[in-house]
């Protein structure tokens, strides 16, 4: 039960929410670049929110499924195809054994995610996470990117029970990412070393446009644009680097630190990108125009709360009970053993379901009882 990798793509790795508890020992947290797309992929197939998914960048893998299951694809638009036939992203799809999933180049975005129903890939946890850490060679599939011939196992739940999944569908997320906009605005919490920059430097940073470049990977994104002036150089005594930290080395151009970042560093950080805006950044192709706008940490945390509420609301919408597609007979067949078990647990006190018919004909119900 799993998938065979026919083509690996450029850099396809297993990632989850990240490896924490070892940053103090110098381990990058790893984990998905785009937490939002990752979370939504798992929502679509009823997975736990941190279930490991496949992350791919710029070119997706070609995978053959060796069992029936449900999948969901999110993130950039990689024109997914099942046996050559286009399928939608942001929707749960039933995949049959033997079917081939392939992707094109991303029409929008940089990173794509594939979640598989049933709690996703069966891989050992390394230091508390299944995320691939390429530098250390740990996590995911033997600590490396996927390669041709790899076989990834996943657990398959009873698909009969999963029949509702096929109705799980969402709008694509283009508006969130600003795929159709010329410019992406990232909200920034100033600090921790803003005071090392001159007034003019800070003014430049928040008023001018910067561009993403081809120097972007899981460690960080280097931007091009007007030089950000410091007062007396940007070297500091190395300190911790948070996700989204905006380092400005002596060349004066910002580098935004991401999932595979070093845990410590010696360049001044003018600010930190708000967590809710990290997915927007990582999905920017090289050459995209970026502007920064300062917000307070309190506002950033309020945004994060709202984002969490939105995702939970999304989860409710996706997982609403679905009446279409499942016959009443099938439902009854599935419910009976559950109710019988319930009755056993409750010492024989039978549980009744008030069927519409029974309500109309209490007489019949009594007779049956």
């Amino acid at each position: 039960m799993g998938v065979t990798v026919n083509k690996p793509g450029i850099l396809t790795t297993v990632q989850d929410a990240g490896r924490f508890g070892y940053l103090g020992s110098g381990f990058s947290p790893s984990g998905v670049m785009d937490k939002r797309a990752f979370r939504i992929a798992n929502i679509l197939v009823d997975n736990p929110k941190d279930a490991p998914a496949l992350e791919f960048v710029l070119a997706g893998p070609t995978l053959r499924f060796t069992t029936n299951t449900y999948i969901a694809i999110t993130g950039g638009d990689f024109s997914p195809r099942l046996d050559g036939k286009p399928i939608a992203s942001y929707k749960a799809h039933f995949v049959r054994r033997g079917q081939m999933l392939s992707f094109g180049a991303p029409k929008t975005g940089m990173y794509g995610y594939l979640a598989v129903a049933g709690g996703s890939f069966t891989l050992p946890e390394v230091m508390g996470s299944r995320s691939t850490n390429l530098k250390c060679g740990i996590g995911g599939v033997e600590g490396r990117a996927l390669t041709t011939g790899d076989y990834l196992r996943f657990e398959t739940r009873n698909l009969d029970y999963l029949a509702n999944l096929g109705s799980h569908v969402l709008e694509d997320d283009a508006d969130f990412y600003g795929f159709n906009l010329d410019e992406v605005v990232l909200r920034v919490i100033p600090g921790p070393q803003e005071s090392l920059f001159s007034e003019r430097g800070i003014e430049t940073f928040y008023s001018q446009a910067y561009q993403t470049t081809s120097k972007c990977d899981r460690m960080g994104y280097r931007l091009e644009g007007p030089e950000i002036e410091t007062i007396d150089g940007s070297d500091i005594i190395s300190d911790g680097i948070a996700l989204g930290a905006i380092q400005v080395p002596s060349h004066g151009r910002p580098i935004i630190m991401l999932a595979d970042r070093q845990t410590t560093g010696g360049y001044a950080k003018i600010g930190t990108v708000a967590s809710v805006d990290i997915p927007k950044l990582v999905q920017c192709k090289p050459g995209k125009s970026i502007r920064f706008t300062p917000i307070s940490v309190e506002v950033a945390q309020e945004l994060l709360r709202k984002e969490e509420e939105n995702l939970q609301a999304l989860e409710k919408i996706v997982r609403r009970p679905c009446y279409g597609g499942v016959s009443p007979r099938k439902t009854a067949r599935r419910l009976t053993p559950i109710l019988e078990k319930q009755a056993r647990i409750s010492n024989g006190n039978k549980l009744w379901i008030e069927l519409e018919e029974d309500l109309k004909h209490p007489q019949k119900r009594r007779e049956r009882a």
Partner: protein, 242 residues
């Protein structure tokens, strides 16, 4: 009493800044802060990253907001004094300084106007305080390299150094825990793996511990290496009163 200021590192981390210079005293204070915060964890705090002069506190703002976190951290560390260590935890790292591994011993010795034997004696004759870990998993920034051994980095960094390479870069010395490109002058190699994901704990030491280099011969190197490969080697750790 130890003073610190708090800086904001985004919506999910704060820095407690204890000083502006690298010193064993600051290191001791940070160590004390880590111990205090780990002994009675604040809900929502994910982890602590101690560095030379500051301590980064990563947290989940859905559990605890920035104001409450700062207040609770200040409360807990109100009575923090420099955690003067009464016992040093010293991790002994066996190092083979044989010329097979000591790619740049001549450079270092010439620069210091010493013989290789004197370089080895100076390098091993000192316990190094681990100021912090960073750069690579398990890479320890060590304080206290003898000034005579300070050597500029290579003009052109090597594209690959083997795991266990022991080197000098400027005023610093240390061990490469993983194969890595690097510009340090290499004077030896340890068969010990400072980092092993299958070992618990995966990293042999933490900030605030000490590292002591113990010279070994080539045959000892290969003997220990075999034990390391077999997973039977246990690194020597000693506790010494200060």
């Amino acid at each position: 009493m130890a003073q610190f200021s708090i800086t904001i590192a985004g919506d999910s981390a704060i820095n407690l800044v204890f000083g502006t210079t690298i010193s064993p005293e600051t290191n001791g204070v940070i160590r004390g802060a880590v111990q205090t915060l780990e002994a009675d964890p604040i809900p929502g705090v994910i982890e602590l990253v101690p560095t030379f002069c500051s301590l980064m506190v990563l947290y989940d703002s859905l559990v605890i907001g920035v104001d409450e976190l700062c207040e609770r951290v200040r409360g807990k560390l109100r009575n923090l004094t420099s955690c003067a260590q009464t016992v040093k935890r010293i991790v002994k790292i066996p190092v083979c300084y044989d010329e097979e591994f000591a790619l740049d011993m001549d450079t270092v010795a010439t620069h210091a106007q010493l013989t290789p034997e004197e370089v080895i004696a100076l390098h091993t004759g000192h316990d190094y305080l681990i100021d912090m870990l960073g750069f690579l998993p398990g890479f320890a920034y060590l304080g206290g390299l003898d000034e005579r051994l300070h050597t500029p980095r290579l003009a052109t960094p090597r594209t690959r150094l083997e795991a266990g390479s022991v080197g000098i870069g400027g005023a610093q010395t240390g061990v490469y825990p993983l194969p890595s490109p690097g510009g340090w002058q290499i004077i030896g190699r340890t068969p010990v793996r400072p980092y092993d994901p299958d070992r618990n704990p995966p990293i042999l030491y933490a900030a605030g511990d000490y590292m002591r280099f113990v010279p070994i011969s080539k045959s000892e190197y290969f003997a220990i290496d075999a034990q390391v490969q077999a997973g039977t080697y246990v690194c020597d750790v000693v506790l010494e009163e200060v």
